[in-house]
C-alpha cells in the first residue's frame, strides 16, 4: 500500500468516484468526482491531533461497527493516503453547530470547512475495474438469527475482534459481554452524578444517607419537605447502584470466547441466495480458528460444513495442520438453526451426517462464513462504463477472454470478476495489467499505421 502512495507513476485519487465515461479503447475520457474531505490533502500530515480533540463519536465502519471513531477520522491507522477526512453527516461544524476544535488543534492548518467537491477530467487508454465484493448480509437467513443473538458474528467481524489494532485489542471478548461492560460504564457515570447529589444532603445534615433513609422509612420525618427530597434522591441513587452491582458481579465471570463454531456456506451453495461456492470461506474459517488458537491455547473450534474445499497450493496441508495442532474439529453437516442458551451462549442445531443424528451443541461464539456477494454499486458502475453484468451481479466475461468485459479496453479482476481469494486476485490483477498494456500498444500501432 505504501508503495502505491509514493510511486511516481501512480496518481492516487482516494475518496473519489467515477461520474462519466466517454470514448473508446485507446481514448477514454473519464470524469471523476473528488469528494470534499474538508481537509487539504497537500497539508495534512496525518498526525491525528484533530481526531483527539473532536468531541463527536461515531461507529467505525472499518471495524465493522464494533468500535468507534470520531467525526474527523482516518479510515484506519496505516491507511494510504494518511489524510484525515471529516464525516459531513456527523461533524458539528458542518451541521451548523459551533465547534471547529479540530481546526484549532491542527498545526498544519489543513482543515478547510469550505472545501468543495472537485471534478477532474482524465484521458486514459484502458480501464481496469477492481471494485471487489460485498459481504453477504446474513440477516437474510432468519434461522441463524444474526443481529438478534449478539454472539453470532460474521467472519469479517471476527477478523476485527482478532486484530491487535481492532476494537478489543485482539482479545476475543464476546459482543454480549462488551455490551454489558458498556452498560456498566454508562451506569457508573450516572452513579457518580447521583452520588454527588446525595453527598450534598449528607454534608448539610451531617449524616450518612443509609442511616437517614432507614429512619425516614419508619416515618420519622413525615411532612419534612427537604428530607423528602433527600429520600427521593437516595431512592434514585439506589435504583442505579443496585443493578450496577449485579452487572459488575456478572462481568467478573467474563472470559474470552473459547468454544468457537464456524458455520460454512452462509449464503453460498444455497439456492435461496447464491448457488455458487464462494471459494475462500473454508480456508478463511480454518485460518481464523488457527489464529484464535494462537491467542489462547485452550480455544477449541468446530467447523460445520458440507465439505471442506481446500483447493490451492498448500491449502490441504494447512487444513490438516489446523486439525492436528489447533484443536479444530471438522463436522460434516449443515446447520439448521441457531438459538440462544444460558449466558448468551449460542446453541447450534445440526445434523451430524456421519452419525446420522440430529444434535445440538452450545458455544461461546458462532462465526458465519458469509458468501462473497456482488458489490452493491455494480449496476451503477456497469451503466456508467456501458458494460454487462452476469446473472449474479458480477461483471460479465467470457471463458476464452476471462478478464475482458463486454466493452473493448475495459478489463476486470479480483472479486468484481467473481469470488476468489487473495492469491488469485493478485494473479488476475497482474493479468489485467498486461491486457491493459496490450490495449495501449495496439491503439498506438493503429495510429502509426493510419
Amino acid at each position: 500500500m505504501l508503495d502505491v502512495g509514493r510511486h511516481p507513476n501512480i496518481e492516487l485519487l482516494a475518496y473519489s468516484e467515477v461520474e462519466k465515461v466517454d470514448g473508446q479503447a485507446g481514448d477514454f475520457r473519464v470524469t471523476v468526482r473528488r469528494k470534499a474531505r474538508y481537509v487539504e490533502e497537500d497539508k495534512c500530515t496525518g498526525c491525528g491531533a484533530c481526531k483527539e480533540k473532536c468531541p463527536t463519536i461515531v461507529p467505525d465502519a472499518f471495524n465493522e461497527w464494533l468500535g468507534e471513531r470520531k467525526a474527523i477520522y482516518s479510515w484506519f491507522a496505516q491507511g494510504i493516503p494518511s489524510t484525515h477526512t471529516i464525516d459531513p453527516a456527523h461533524c458539528r461544524q458542518l451541521n451548523g453547530k459551533k465547534c471547529g476544535v479540530c481546526k484549532k488543534g491542527c498545526k498544519a492548518d489543513a482543515i478547510n470547512f469550505d472545501q468543495k467537491e472537485r471534478i477532474v477530467e482524465l484521458n486514459v487508454a484502458a480501464i481496469i475495474v477492481a471494485t471487489g465484493y460485498d459481504v453477504f448480509a446474513p440477516s437474510r437467513i432468519p434461522e441463524y438469527q444474526y443481529g438478534k443473538i449478539a454472539n453470532v458474528v460474521t467472519a469479517i467481524e471476527f477478523e476485527r475482534l482478532l486484530s491487535a489494532s481492532g476494537p478489543t485489542g485482539g482479545h476475543l471478548d464476546r459482543p454480549s459481554d462488551r455490551a454489558i461492560e458498556a452498560e456498566i460504564e454508562e451506569l457508573e457515570k450516572k452513579a457518580n452524578r447521583s452520588q454527588k447529589v446525595i453527598a450534598k444532603f449528607e454534608e448539610q445534615h451531617g449524616e450518612a444517607s443509609g442511616e437517614f433513609y432507614a429512619r425516614y422509612e419508619k416515618g420519622e420525618y413525615s411532612g419534612d419537605e427537604e428530607r423528602g427530597k433527600w429520600a427521593e434522591k437516595y431512592q434514585e441513587h439506589l435504583a442505579i447502584v443496585e443493578p450496577l452491582k449485579a452487572l459488575k458481579k456478572k462481568a467478573g465471570g467474563f472470559t474470552a470466547a473459547k468454544r468457537l463454531a464456524f458455520i460454512q456456506c452462509v449464503g453460498s451453495r444455497d439456492f435461496r441466495f447464491y448457488p455458487f461456492c464462494s471459494g475462500y470461506c473454508c480456508m478463511h474459517s480454518i485460518k481464523e480458528a488457527i489464529i484464535a488458537h494462537e491467542h489462547g491455547s485452550e480455544t477449541t473450534s468446530a467447523i460445520f460444513g458440507m465439505d471442506i474445499r481446500a483447493v490451492g497450493k498448500g491449502f490441504e496441508e494447512y487444513k490438516v495442520r489446523g486439525g492436528n495442532n489447533s484443536n479444530i474439529r471438522y463436522v460434516r453437516g449443515r446447520v439448521a438453526e441457531i438459538t440462544e442458551g444460558p449466558n448468551n451462549n449460542p446453541v447450534v442445531i445440526y445434523e451430524d451426517t456421519r452419525e446420522r443424528k440430529v444434535k445440538d451443541e452450545e458455544f461461546d461464539l458462532v462465526i458465519l462464513a458469509t458468501a462473497c456477494a456482488p458489490n452493491s454499486g455494480v449496476k451503477q458502475l456497469a451503466d456508467l462504463l456501458d458494460i454487462e453484468i452476469d446473472n449474479f451481479g458480477f461483471y460479465k466475461t467470457s471463458a476464452t477472454q476471462p478478464l475482458d468485459t463486454t466493452r473493448p479496453g475495459i478489463f476486470v479482476c479480483g472479486c468484481a470478476h467473481g469470488p476468489m481469494d487473495i492469491p488469485e486476485s493478485v494473479a488476475q490483477a497482474s493479468s489485467a495489467a498486461a491486457r491493459a498494456v496490450q490495449t495501449v500498444t495496439a491503439s498506438e500501432q493503429m495510429r502509426k499505421a493510419s
Partner: protein
C-alpha cells in the same frame, strides 16, 4: 491521445494492477471510493496459508 491507464478500486486487485503498470512505466490513475486504499484485505488480521500480516 493518452497512454495512461485508469484503475477503479483500491483493494488488493487494484493495488496489484496499479503497481505492475507503474513498474512497466505507465502512468496510472487509481480511484478509490473510500478515504484510504486497502479494501477488504486491510480488514483482515492475517492471511492464509502462511498466516502473514495482511497490511
Amino acid at each position: 491521445m493518452s497512454r495512461d491507464i485508469l484503475v477503479i478500486g483500491g483493494g488488493i486487485a487494484g493495488i496489484q494492477s496499479s503497481l505492475d503498470l507503474a513498474e512497466m512505466g505507465f502512468k496510472v490513475h487509481l480511484i478509490e471510493r473510500l478515504p484510504s486504499i486497502g479494501g477488504k484485505m486491510a480488514q483482515l488480521d492475517k492471511t492464509f496459508p502462511t498466516n502473514d500480516c495482511a497490511i
